[in-house]
């Protein structure tokens, strides 16, 4: 069964811009969502990612009945969201990260009471549910604080609790972790995983934070210029855009640079060549082949492999989206030729995008890299966390 069914969904906005020095307006049509089709199976967790203005929020507003589609159809929980908005409202929970659904001047506790009344929940059951959410989201100490005095992290947890109060079948989160510190993000993700495991809630999540996707979603939809650019798993996405992996080898003795290896490019050599970083394309060679080739030349003491940075992967999709890329679905469906910057050289030209990059340029590269891992590593799911042997 599908909780969300979207078919040929299109939404256009008419913009009226005043012309400089002339009277009247220019009428411009902006297509925010362009004949998009996808399904979300009940109980699944889907990440919906795209650059700002790619059409994420517009899609969500159409799924929830706030906006009427220009053409195409939407069914959320089997309902037409606009015509049966009120019925649907009882079955979905929505959090808009930058907008509050709570009463800013009331203690948090009261917002929950009012929302329970709005959804006409039986008071005892509502109290039990509130207690449950308050405990799981660790909000006990903030219940009597007016919402306007809550910190961003506290408010976001409160928003999510508010959206879950009536036990919705579908939870839609629009940038739930925006502006949160690493620890708050992690706690929020843990809660969402538990909630899904307990209640089987379907989750649709938009985010700029790849950690959210990696930790919470088994499937990603990438939207670009209003079109679906990718639909599949996250590793599949990395494969699709031809992201490289990086092999880091620690050698027994200082050595010359490891150049001329088939399918690999040297990114950096540190400590007189004791540690060398090689980027390779998994489609051309494997880590094992590369390691064998290196071992033929020098003695390898230790090694680690860095996975492709997903943010970099997505950036490639975005930068490819000049509006001409066809909407494709399924892992591996995006033609490699449509993604510029797929080659190693062009990737190496973009400064400061990736830890690998910084390492290649920085003098005290190891330290820098370590610092970076420290920054992101608390959130234990980052790609920088490498697999050491």
């Amino acid at each position: 069964m599908n909780t969300v069914e979207v078919s040929e969904l299109t939404r256009q906005f008419v913009l009226r811009r005043s012309r400089r020095g002339r009277r009247g307006h220019v009428r411009e049509v902006l297509t925010a969502v362009d004949s998009m089709s996808f399904h979300i199976e009940s109980g699944s967790a889907v990440g919906y990612i795209g650059a700002n203005g790619a059409g994420k929020s517009t899609t969500i507003k159409m799924l929830t009945g706030i906006l009427v589609p220009t053409s195409g159809t939407v069914r959320t929980c089997g309902l037409d969201p606009v015509r049966r908005r009120r019925e649907l409202a009882g079955r979905i929970g929505v959090v808009f990260g930058q907008r509050s659904q709570l009463w800013w001047d009331l203690p948090l506790r009261e917002s929950f009471t009012i929302l329970a009344a709005i959804h006409r929940l039986e008071p005892a059951a509502a109290r039990r549910r509130t207690d449950e959410l308050v405990e799981q989201l660790e909000m006990g100490h903030t219940l009597d604080t007016p919402v306007r005095q809550l910190s961003l992290g506290q408010r976001m947890r409160a928003e999510i609790a508010a959206a879950l109060l009536h036990r919705p079948e579908l939870l839609i989160l629009d940038e739930p972790t925006i502006g949160l510190d690493v620890l708050s993000k992690q706690r929020l993700r843990e809660f969402l995983r538990r909630e899904r495991a307990d209640s089987g809630t379907t989750l649709l999540l938009t985010t700029h934070d790849m950690g959210d996707i990696e930790r919470l979603c088994e499937r990603v939809l990438v939207v670009d210029h209003g079109r679906l650019a990718y639909d599949g798993t996250l590793p599949g996405l990395a494969r699709t855009v031809g992201a490289r992996r990086v092999l880091v080898v620690d050698l027994a003795r200082p050595s010359d640079d490891l150049t001329g290896l088939a399918g690999a490019t040297l990114l950096a050599a540190e400590a007189d060549g004791m540690r060398q970083r090689l980027a390779f394309d998994p489609e051309i060679t494997t880590a094992a082949q590369l390691l064998a080739a290196i071992s033929n030349r020098v003695e390898v003491r230790d090694l680690s492999i860095e996975e492709p940075d997903i943010e970099d992967v997505v950036r490639r999709i975005y930068s490819a989206g000049d509006g001409t890329a066809p909407a494709l679905s399924g892992a591996g469906a995006v033609a490699r030729g449509t993604i510029p910057g797929g080659g190693l050289e062009s990737a190496a030209e973009r400064p400061g995008e990736q830890g690998v990059q910084d390492t290649a340029e920085g003098g005290a590269a190891g330290v820098e890299d370590a610092a970076q891992r420290g920054a992101t590593g608390v959130d234990d799911d980052r790609n920088h966390a490498s697999t050491s042997l």
Partner: protein, 273 residues
């Protein structure tokens, strides 16, 4: 998922919101008192203004200063009570900007009812009190030939007056969907309407009389009931007998209000707007 019968009545959600709004106003007693006082001041100043005008002329639009008390009392009481109930709808533009309107979409109640019950401006009670005092003085001070029909007329006129102004506030809200920064314009609708209501409609020339008599029928709020109670004939186009049609005028305003609101929501959601 097990479908539970909804708890409580259809009114439960609105009552919960309104009660919390009242509580929150009481939570800051000093600021509430200040608001009450400033609203009282507005009421008093408005009355002083009218009093000064009538003090300097013997009659305006066929009414003397004692008769004016009725006109002022009726129009201001209706306006103040409408403002308490739905006056905050003219903040719709802010609601749109803050995303509150999106939040309304995510709750299982009609949008307009949610907007109306999203707040209640108790601080305007003091202005209503001023108007009520003036109205009482007018009812006592004037020589009214009281009969049961007149009592019915006075009550139905007040209720229609509240409904007319409430409808005008909703019209203003409906228009704000199109003019997100247009609260100035829509204020001319509501506050302008209130100002027009407290003038004797006889002073208006033809087109204005038609405007306030029938298009935006604020003459039904105070002027027509006043001349009917006083037994005055009324000017051309607005005979005193029309006073009985206050409910009809209110209905007309609400038809406009709901149409404008519907068009506004359609525009917001983007379907055919």
């Amino acid at each position: 998922m097990a479908e539970l019968a909804p708890y409580g009545s259809r009114l439960t959600p609105y009552v919960a919101v309104l009660r919390s709004r009242m509580r929150s106003q009481r939570a800051y007693p000093l600021s509430f008192a200040t608001d009450l006082f400033s609203s009282l001041l507005i009421g008093v100043v408005e009355f002083a203004e009218m009093w000064l005008i009538y003090h300097n002329v013997t009659a305006l639009g066929g009414l003397n200063s004692t008769q004016m008390l009725l006109l002022f009392g009726l129009s201001n009481l209706s306006f103040a009570l409408a403002q308490i109930a739905v006056g905050h709808t003219d903040t719709l533009a802010t609601y749109i900007r803050m995303g509150t309107l999106d939040a309304f979409h995510l709750r299982p109640q009609p949008l307009l009812l949610q907007l109306i019950t999203s707040d209640v401006s108790l601080r305007r009670l003091s202005r209503a009190t001023v108007a009520a005092v003036v109205l009482t003085a007018g009812l006592i001070g004037n020589d009214i030939d009281w009969s049961p029909t007149y009592i019915v007329l006075a009550v139905s006129s007040t209720l229609s007056g509240i409904a007319i102004f409430a409808g005008l506030f909703v019209c203003a809200a409906g228009l704000q969907f199109h003019l997100v920064d247009g609260s100035e314009l829509t204020n001319s609708f509501t506050y302008g309407g209130s100002f027009a209501a407290q003038q004797p409609s006889a002073v208006f020339s033809g087109p204005l009389r038609a405007l306030f008599g029938f298009a935006i029928p604020v003459s039904f709020v105070a002027y027509l009931p006043t001349i009917a109670l006083l037994g005055l004939p009324g000017p051309a186009w607005l005979p005193a007998g029309l006073a009985w049609f206050g409910p009809l005028a209110a209905l007309w305003v609400w038809i406009m209000a709901l149409t404008l609101w519907r068009i506004g929501v359609r525009h917001y959601q983007g379907g055919g707007g």
